[in-house]
Symmetry: C2
Subunit: 280 residues, 2 copies
């Protein structure tokens, strides 16, 4: 890649999606967007080298882990090059020159509409109108030149489609964060490593009770701090589970290498997803 | 409650929602539905005795745990009286007398539309049209007497609104299950207890690494089998977590009582959510 070529980033959704915010936070302002309709197509874009990076949501504080993307991480051999969290904050967006009192309906994804119930209670003349996605609803305003319609989406969606924010942060719940991974095909160092590295792994055990306890002993005996643990039943295989575990430390540290070697002895399957530096 | 009065059941969504299917599976055909727009209102309905039961989704195999409902379980002191899983299967539904070739668009929640991508690829003349929820889209057909429009929803939604299923099971992914809890205000035995009971708890620890290991020792030392473990970071409190744990056994068993007493010693906070018999 020539030095001044902006990196190509694949993500799910339209430009202006929350994944676009995450991509900018991870890689800076100068990026070339490769939006894709589904997560599968995002992974395919990285696999076919249509992009150097992919940004994918892994979990949300209200809605839990995105199991589909854990499955994709198992299906492809990519490297986690970074991690960040984005607060999911909703803006009421309209075309320039349109004022709040002209608005009669607000387009957005039903999940976002549901997260702004109090706004609709306070503004009874504005009807919520379901749409495919949040950023796409701002795009629809611009394409149709709607002047009686607003959209509910991110700040970056307003910026992307030339919308104006009529009301800021209209979400009911402020404690709504989504955690994203930055994926690459080959290991690449993003920027000077800062802070403490984290490592993500997936493993499975057959006999649950004793096996999980032994698996966790590999960490606690070495004073390694877990930051996430989650079981996921393997359908059709009673008593078999995947475990998603994140812990502090890098797979390049000797102590972590030892823990993983030890863990291999007490699991059926173990995959190192990557070691990375979180972007605060 | 007089003996032949059907039990009143609160759930989120419209009649015909997947929660309605779960309620019927748990309580039988003869139930009085108390649909509510939000989960919070479902919990309120049970609290105010507007219903004897509430049926709430706790986790989905694709989308993870519904943290909002774990929070609600912490906020209210209800009892888990039962548990079941429902396969999320989508039907193409139209008004009676309408044939597939008349259909030009299909209404549903965007999440359901996204789960039927292959159907739309095979039927290019049918446009997906986002709507608030799946069951509500069938209701909209009936209310508007649409003859060029279908809806994508559950079997029970077709039945509820007198729709006809034009195409069965049009979802792309068959391995999509949602797990529901049946909640009551006071402990009540549903029906003759069958199979092996399960117990659900929530606890928190401060120092993660050693504390979780010690907490799990309370189970593994007694050969109690975990069926779920999940950490959830407490926002604004770094290194503090909630853990959701399910295990086999009833809180009425002595061994489980001992495990919970032991667990109390090594946790900051512990709440027993309930012991219940799963409905297969």
């Amino acid at each position: 890649m020539p030095p001044n070529t902006p990196p190509r980033v694949a993500f799910q959704g339209e430009p202006g999606a929350f994944s676009h915010s995450a991509a900018r936070k991870l890689l800076g302002e100068s990026i070339k967007l490769h939006p894709r309709p589904t997560f599968k197509e995002v992974f395919e874009a990285l696999d076919k080298a249509e992009a150097e990076y992919a940004v994918i949501p892994m979990e949300n504080t209200l809605h839990g882990s995105v199991h589909e993307n854990y499955d994709n991480l198992l299906d492809y051999n990519f490297v986690i090059a970074g991690e960040t969290s984005i607060r999911i904050s909703h803006q009421l967006i309209a075309l320039p020159g349109v004022s709040l009192r002209q608005i009669r309906r607000a387009l957005s994804h039903p999940v976002a509409l549901n997260q702004c119930k109090k706004f609709f209670e306070r503004h009874r003349r504005i009807q919520p109108a379901p749409y495919y996605d949040t950023a796409g609803s701002v795009k629809a305003l611009a394409e149709n030149q709607f002047r009686d319609t607003a959209a509910i989406a991110s700040r970056i969606a307003a910026e992307t489609y030339g919308g104006v924010i009529l009301k800021e942060n209209i979400e009911d719940i402020r404690e709504n964060f989504t955690r994203f991974f930055l994926l690459t095909k080959q290991k690449r160092l993003l920027r000077p490593a800062q802070g403490e590295p984290k490592t993500s792994i997936v493993f499975s055990t057959v006999n649950r009770s004793g096996a999980l306890f032994r698996a966790l002993a590999c960490f606690s005996l070495r004073d390694l701090n877990l930051t996430k643990i989650e079981s996921r039943p393997l359908r059709g295989k009673p008593w078999e589970y995947f475990f998603y575990v994140d812990f502090l430390g890098s797979a390049e540290d000797e102590i972590v290498r030892n823990a993983l070697t030890n863990l291999k002895e007490c699991t059926e399957f173990l995959k190192l997803l990557g070691s990375y530096y979180p972007t605060p």
